[in-house]
Amino acid sequence: MTTIRHASKPLDYTRGVIDLSHGSGGRAMAQLISELFAKEFANEFLAQGNDQAILPASAGRLALATDSFVVSPLFFPGGNIGELAVNGTVNDLAMGGARPLHLTASFIIEEGFPLADLRHIVIAMAHAASNAELSIVAGDTKVVERGKADGLFICTTGLGSVPAGCNLSGKAIRPGDQILLSGTIGDHGVAIMGCRANLGLSTQIISDTAALHGLVTVMIETGPSLRCMRDPTRGGLAVTLNELANQSGVGMLIYEDRIPIKEEVAAACEILGLDPLYVANEGKLIAICAPEDAPELLAAMRSHPRGQLATIIGEVCSDPRSFVRMQTAFGGTRVVDWLAGVQLPRIC
């Protein structure tokens, strides 16, 4: 990265669009980097201006996570792809108990993409990074021809430090453990699908995109009986629980009437023919902990703004076939299965 100013005119955020020259390595690219990325993400590591960021080594263990973001639409109620790209990777780090330190960001931009939109997204990323108390230390920009990308793709990689004594793992779950959920499900997925299907609902459904490292910090302070955490993003609560049950070779029983869901999200799911258990979240986590410490963990979660609606939604049981079952609010029991293919709406 460089901060040298080459261009005679500043970037035109009113009418300007990305063209192939912004990815060609020439002056236009240098200008884009210095006037937008370097300016908004400013920090001492980025300011080194080299092909790499040189970071101080920290004692103890590091966590590394990467994620790509291809959401459509890029702007949705409650956020945009920029926040998502930062929060998503921050949460992947946080689920291992790690405190996020640094992030890299790669942008693949389609020719013709409005500079104003790019700026909006970059500023959102800078805010999200500052909220997550981390710095964006390296990046890359590529421009592809029109039609070869859906506007903008972002890939972020994050580095975090794991506190001593924190050993969270999806393989550590045992029968009897309690399953905790930090809040309402389905908000992000329904916000996105609501935009796409143009439902025209009177209440706007807002994505829950948020960084969860703060919530995680208060949770891991409760002690070693916390077995593991995971954020139920793609595939929602159902798929995440199935992953965990399989990893540990256990079954799970959850209770439908304990799972918080906003009325408008439930209503939109009805209209779209979707099961909210399978809808994506971007600011929620599932925690599994030993039964004796569940009340303390729940209290810790509820003390944090991101976990106010936390509940114990079920428990782990022994089951060689690793079924996740749900007692329905209606009084019956059913399997909560893996998602087959993609969730497709039913016609009647």
């Binding site: 029968p175 009897g176 299907a197 079954g251 029983l253 009437d257 009325e263 408008e264 439930a266 209503a267 009805e270 779209l272 023919g273 039964p291 428990e315 782990v316 049981c317 022994s318 089951d319 060689p320 076939r321 079924f323 079952r325 007692q327 329905t328 609010a329 209606f330 009084g331 019956g332 029991t333 059913r334 399997v335 299965d337 087959a340 293919g341 497709l344 709406p345 039913r346 016609i347 009647c348």
Partner: protein, 380 residues
Amino acid sequence: MKYISEFRSGKIAQVLARQIHAAVYPDRTYSFMEFCGGHTHAIFRYGLSDLLPSNIRMVHGPGCPVCVLPMGRIDDAVALAQRPEVILCSYGDTMRVPGTDRLSLLKVKAAGAAVKMIYSPSEVLTIARANPGRQVVFFAIGFETTTPATALLIRKAAQEGLVNLSVFCNHVLTPAAIQNILQSPEVRGLPRLQLDGFVGPAHVSTVIGSRPYEYFAREFQRPVVIAGFEPLDLLQAIMMLVRQCNERRAVVEVQFTRAVTREGNLKAQELVAEIFELRRTFEWRGLGMVPYSALRIKAPYASFDAERRFSVTTRSVFDNPACACGAILRGVKRPLDCKLFGTVCHPENPVGSCMVSAEGACAAYYTYGRFKDSPVGAAT
């Protein structure tokens, strides 16, 4: 939303369940067919069978429009989608149904065909207007519930003079299928299948009314209760069927009184009658050729008929001989009776259509109910 949660109340369910337990005669069995896949789905999704006495058996019927579509029609849709000039618009749950060589719309889409998933036929109009250089074909499926929307699409396309829009019509009729089941040798001749009554689909009857079922109740002496799709609707309908059986009555009753009348939606019926006419016969998966069981586009609207525009000639395709979808759709077999169930055939790799649609009996059983056969230990 409150309007929905009221129909899912666990407390009321317990009361209704107790009433059903008290009403059934212990010395007999009750076998009811829920015709519609939406009911099958609801039974499994809410774990309804856990609340029923063991001598009530729910038989899953053929009322899943995706499941009863014969493979030849899927092949036709796939072939249409593969034509370079065509944009094929389809409802979501038809996308994964495998045709011959397991080719589905989702697979040909991945290979480059223009297949668009739509929620409403009105989207087809928008797509046709936006793509005047392409042929936009709507893969229309469904029972009487979805037919009026297709009829409206054709009428609007005609009004606008859209020359690049056509409909591949696969709309089928509920009463014809029920009659076919009641006349099948399994029910009439050699009674391998006990059927004591029917749960009729409410959404269909919001359009056609309850009257078309009166003939079955009378002719075949089987009670019919037209029920909504919420779990309490179903429980109440089962209670009503039990009462009719106990009292040896066989009439049509409407549980879903909040939207079903005897005559139905006359405006929708007129619209359908304007655009569509009966096909002499139509192939149903599982039931075979069923006379007067499906609709085709009438001559004045022939230019919107994809079958005529693209000279579609449907081939009859034999299902995998090991697949029991046919017998399952007739209620003669249960998903677990099929050798392929859960082994070769599962939702990721469906062999038969009952495993594809969420409303199919196999998919519902696999997705929600299969744990019942496996030992599950208690906590700790």
